[in-house]
Symmetry: C2
Subunit: 292 residues, 2 copies
């Protein structure tokens, strides 16, 4: 199985798990309808796939990482729903479909995003993980998703619109808004299996660099691809004058930047000295191919 097929298989496993979870937690509620719509809208599922691969890279069974992967995909989806709101990025299209607030109205979309955070917490707490593992994952989630990462990154991203930021600041925004959730994937997937800092640390570092590469690739595609391929409005970054590596460096140097981040990600894996990290390396290179 090549890496593309492997990712497709893991994505299918996750989608099946997600649908079963939504069925088992169904609630007669407009809020549930709204966040289910956004959750089911798809996307690449790169975060749950990464969580499964991190679990496998430390010797675990990938499917054991499904509850953690689900929680992280819910966090990711919450952040998309809120980022798309008129007060933030004001996006009408996401994953080829109307954004949550376009479909359900702004009040419902705000509340659907809120509810997803609690749903994510529920996915962790209702899992079979030992209490210590649940607490460590929740603790990492709290650290990574608030002012230390995701939400702060989105804030800085919005505030950076129209400004000429130095590259180091753009890298910081990428790290907060994208990399830290990738770090959470790596941490959670590995923490389910072990509590060995020497093993977990390089995997988390891999997540950080991979997240930077991922965001750069996303921003390059925003310029080079079209709406049909992206499943979301293309050219938005330029229109909103977003702080991206493409804006700072131009397309060619942005590709080089993404390649460097990918190489840094791959080189951290050497510290793990385990052949099971081979898939993570392939994943990083496969992602980069999207813009090369």
């Amino acid at each position: 199985m090549d890496i593309g097929e492997l990712i497709t298989a893991k994505k299918a496993l996750f989608d099946e798990y997600l649908l079963a979870y939504l069925k088992s937690t169904w609630s007669d509620s407009g809020v549930f309808d709204a966040f289910s719509y956004s959750l089911k809208a798809g996307g690449k599922r790169i975060r749950p796939v990464l969580t499964m691969l991190a679990c496998e890279a430390t010797g675990g069974n990938g499917s054991d990482a499904l509850p953690a992967g689900l929680a992280i995909e819910m966090i990711h989806t919450f952040s998309l729903i809120h980022d798309d709101l008129p007060a933030l990025d004001n996006d009408d299209l996401r994953r080829g479909m109307p954004t949550c607030h376009k479909k359900f109205g702004e009040a419902t979309a705000i509340l659907a995003g809120d509810a997803l955070i609690f749903q994510s917490l529920s996915a962790i707490c209702s899992s079979d993980y030992p209490s210590e593992v649940k607490v460590d994952i929740c603790s990492a989630m709290a650290d990574i998703c608030g002012t230390g990462g995701l939400v702060q990154g989105e804030y800085e991203d919005v505030m950076a619109e129209g400004k000429d930021l130095p590259l180091v600041k753009i890298e910081e925004i990428y790290t907060k808004k994208t990399s830290r959730l990738f770090e959470l994937c790596m941490y959670s997937g590995a923490r389910i299996v072990c509590n060995d800092h020497a093993l977990i640390r390089p995997l988390v570092d891999f997540g950080r660099y991979l997240g930077q590469a991922f965001q750069a690739i996303d921003d390059i595609l925003d310029v080079t691809s079209n709406e049909e391929n992206l499943g979301k409005s293309a050219g938005k970054d330029l229109a909103q004058d977003k702080a991206t590596v493409v804006k700072a460096l131009g397309i060619d140097a942005a590709r080089e930047w993404a390649r460097n981040a990918t190489e840094r990600a791959v080189s951290t894996l050497e510290k793990v000295r385990d052949e099971r990290t081979g898939t993570l390396k392939e994943l990083a290179l496969w992602m980069l191919q999207r813009v090369m």
Copy 2:
């Protein structure tokens, strides 16, 4: 010390703890500034006080409940920030000060509310509680704050505007948007001390009825009080045609409704057969006095 003085003392203890916590977690961030502003704006702190009293009613030391009480006050504040947004209740004034979005802008207020949820999770996870207690409180929080309670209640509250709902439906909305968080106070405060279902269950039931009474009292005051006393816009419910017991029953019968809910709350305490619940009873009667 009478009940009013006792509540004032507990509130002071909480406010001191909150300020120390904010200082120790300070972050150079507009999101942190925004949620700190709303957290520090004050209010009655009834939820952390209740959490401390629940802890004492089961034989614990009230100050041990401060991390849980802080987490719940953060959840409460997140819900206020989001409820006040233009797309929801569109309120300009809260606790005598401009609402979060009026002061910091809508994008920042949305993100500040989001960050507070994660901050709340952090308050639990970074506490000294045993792992099992942390997981049980997080689990209850996930259950109570999402589609099973708080967020769903706010959704139904917004959707109910302009409609003539039967009393039973209004009671359901009160339960979701207010009572369930009061239940979380009671559960968390007691769970820190013990895991005795026979003791915790009636305390949680007390929280449910007390929350109903509290919401009815709040809605009565919205009509009978003025902006200066309330610290928020008065007469808003009427202007927005909100579903309240006042709208359904009129002021006098609404007072009676609040009294009945208070009596139900007090009578659940009899199942605990412990003199330490005396303070909870006094609290319930003290709250009711605000509208009698």
